[in-house]
Structure formats: structure tokens, C-alpha cells
Amino acid sequence: MSEFFDMGGYGAFIWPSYGITALVMLGLLVASLRSLRANETQLASLESEKEKWSQQSDEWSSTPTETGTSA
């Protein structure tokens, strides 16, 4: 097992190479997925606010409501 990690004496160069690759790829993956989830949440709350707001204004005028819920 230690032979595997030693990599013929090159372990000190091989493992950091794989480490930085994993770090960058996983980091990008997590950051991208997080911003997608955050935007989904924010858009949902904005759209429900807009719906409330247009329902409220509907009580004063009889114009048809325009709810932006076409997702």
C-alpha cells in the first residue's frame, strides 16, 4: 500500500497534481450548483411576491392579472 502512495519516488509530485485537479473540478461543481439553487430560491420568492402584488392591485382595478409563473 505504501508502495502505491510512494509511486516510485514521485508521489510528492503525483498526489498534489491529482489533488489540485480534484479541488478545482469539485470546487467549480459545488459553486455552480449552489448558485443555481440560490437563484431558483430567489426567483421563486420574487415571483410569489409579484403574484401577491398583482392580486392586490387587481382588487382596485379590473385589469387581467399578469402572473409571471410560467416556469
Binding site: F4, M7, G8, G9, Y10, F13, I14, P16, S17, Y18, I20, T21, V24, M25, G27, L28, L29, S32, L33, S35, L36, N39, E40, Q42, L43, L46, E47, E49, K50, W53, G68
Partner: protein, 242 residues
């Protein structure tokens, strides 16, 4: 073009990307898992470079991705400039951080390979310098998007930078022939076919394919996030105006 425009519809894009994503994610795990096993355990050590050759299985695919993503970004930028389609701009913008990440990985793993093989972490040779310029092009492109408040102006400025920077791509490819210093010449994409042994070529190709499907997954997530960000921007403006 009408066929392409059907995919350029944001709603259709959202449906299509949701259908494609799970398959691409599974494929990425399978390919990179197989690639890692092959690269670290099942492939032979090089007769000259010994086990240090295993750095190649991440270094070379990362460098290929850095170039491939740059070309994709430039093509989407051109499509955005010519047809003014917002999805092309969104694709180009979403490419940049992924390409920058892969270029950074190629540079760092290259240094980690250079130290034991060449005796130096860095040398200002043609290949290394032109790859560093590629990283700066990505960073400049991302900075331009940040510099403008209005997406329309930002996309045009960024697209022009992306297109001017394409000149660097053939320079990177031919750098090892024009300035023959420390970096070794091509052994896969060359006249007369690959000169690398199949026992090393196959794990390399599997890893490269895994990096490509990873790119598709992250790109689709970023594009969806960007489409939502623009809707949020519009709704906030409407709210501020009312």
C-alpha cells in the same frame, strides 16, 4: 439555422438540459472513475519518466479542455454577436470559469511534472507562456463581464475580447514546434497518428472524455443559473419601478 434556433429557445433549453443532465452526470462518474483506476493502477510506468508519467492523465486532458472550452466560448461569442441570441451569450459567459479552472490545473500540474523531469517548476518557453496567456484571456473575459452593469454592453465587449484571443489557440498548438525548448512536442494530435503506446493512450482518452462530460454538466448548470439570474434582474427592476 432554424433547427439551431429551436434549441436556442430558453424554455426548450431548460427542458432539454434537465433531460440530458442525469445521463451526463452518471457518464462523468463512470468515465472519471475508470480513468482514475486506469491512470493510477492499471497503466504501466514510462520507460524514461517512470511513474511521474501518471501526471499526464490529468495534465493533458486539462490542457485540452482549456483550449476546447476557449474555442467553444469564442464560437458562442461570435454567434451572440451575429444573431444577437441571448442564449449564445449565456453559453459563452458560462464557459469562462470552467475553462479558466482547467487552464489553471494544466499550469499547476505542468509545474509539478516539470520539477522532477526538467529540474524546474517553470520556464518561459513558448508552450508555457502561451498557456499562461490563455489563463489571462479567460480572466480578462470574466473581468469584462463584471465591468458593465448592462448585460448587452458587457456581452459585446467580452465577445470581442474572446474573438481576438482566438489567435492564441494555434500559437499554443504550434508553440512546441516553433520554439523547441523544454516542453515535449505533441504525441496524440499529430501527422501520422498518435505515437503514444495504446496502454497509455486509452486511459488518457477515457479521462479526457470524462472531463468533457463534466464540462457539459457544469456548463448546463451555469447556463440555467444565468438564465434565472437575468429573470431575477428583470423582476427586481420592475419592482423598483413600481
Amino acid at each position: 439555422m432554424p433547427r439551431l434556433h429551436r434549441f436556442a429557445n430558453p424554455m426548450r433549453f431548460a427542458r432539454l438540459s434537465k433531460a440530458v443532465l442525469p445521463w451526463m452526470a452518471v457518464l462523468t462518474i463512470l468515465l472519471i472513475g475508470t480513468g482514475l483506476y486506469w491512470a493510477l493502477l492499471a497503466s504501466p510506468a514510462d520507460y524514461q519518466q517512470k511513474d511521474s508519467v501518471r501526471i499526464m492523465y490529468v495534465h493533458v486532458p486539462a490542457a485540452w479542455m482549456g483550449l476546447f472550452i476557449y474555442v467553444s466560448m469564442a464560437v458562442s461569442s461570435a454567434a451572440g454577436l451575429i444573431w444577437r441570441h441571448p442564449l449564445a451569450d449565456i453559453a459563452a459567459k458560462s464557459c469562462a470559469p470552467i475553462g479558466a479552472g482547467f487552464t489553471l490545473v494544466a499550469l499547476v500540474t505542468g509545474a509539478l511534472w516539470g520539477q522532477p523531469m526538467w529540474g524546474t517548476w517553470w520556464v518561459w518557453d513558448g508552450r508555457l507562456t502561451s498557456m499562461l496567456i490563455l489563463l489571462f484571456l479567460y480572466l480578462g473575459y470574466m473581468a469584462l463581464w463584471q465591468a458593465y452593469d448592462e448585460p448587452g454592453k458587457a456581452s459585446r465587449a467580452a465577445a470581442i475580447l474572446a474573438l481576438v484571443g482566438v489567435i492564441n489557440v494555434p500559437i499554443i498548438h504550434f508553440s512546441v514546434e516553433w520554439w523547441n525548448t523544454l516542453h515535449q512536442p505533441a504525441s496524440v494530435f499529430k501527422v501520422g497518428g498518435p505515437s503514444i503506446d495504446p496502454s497509455m493512450l486509452w486511459p488518457l482518452l477515457v479521462m479526457a472524455l470524462g472531463f468533457t462530460t463534466y464540462f457539459v454538466v457544469v456548463l448546463l448548470w451555469r447556463m440555467r443559473a444565468e438564465i434565472l439570474a437575468r429573470r431575477i434582474h428583470v423582476l427586481m427592476m420592475q419592482q423598483a419601478a413600481s
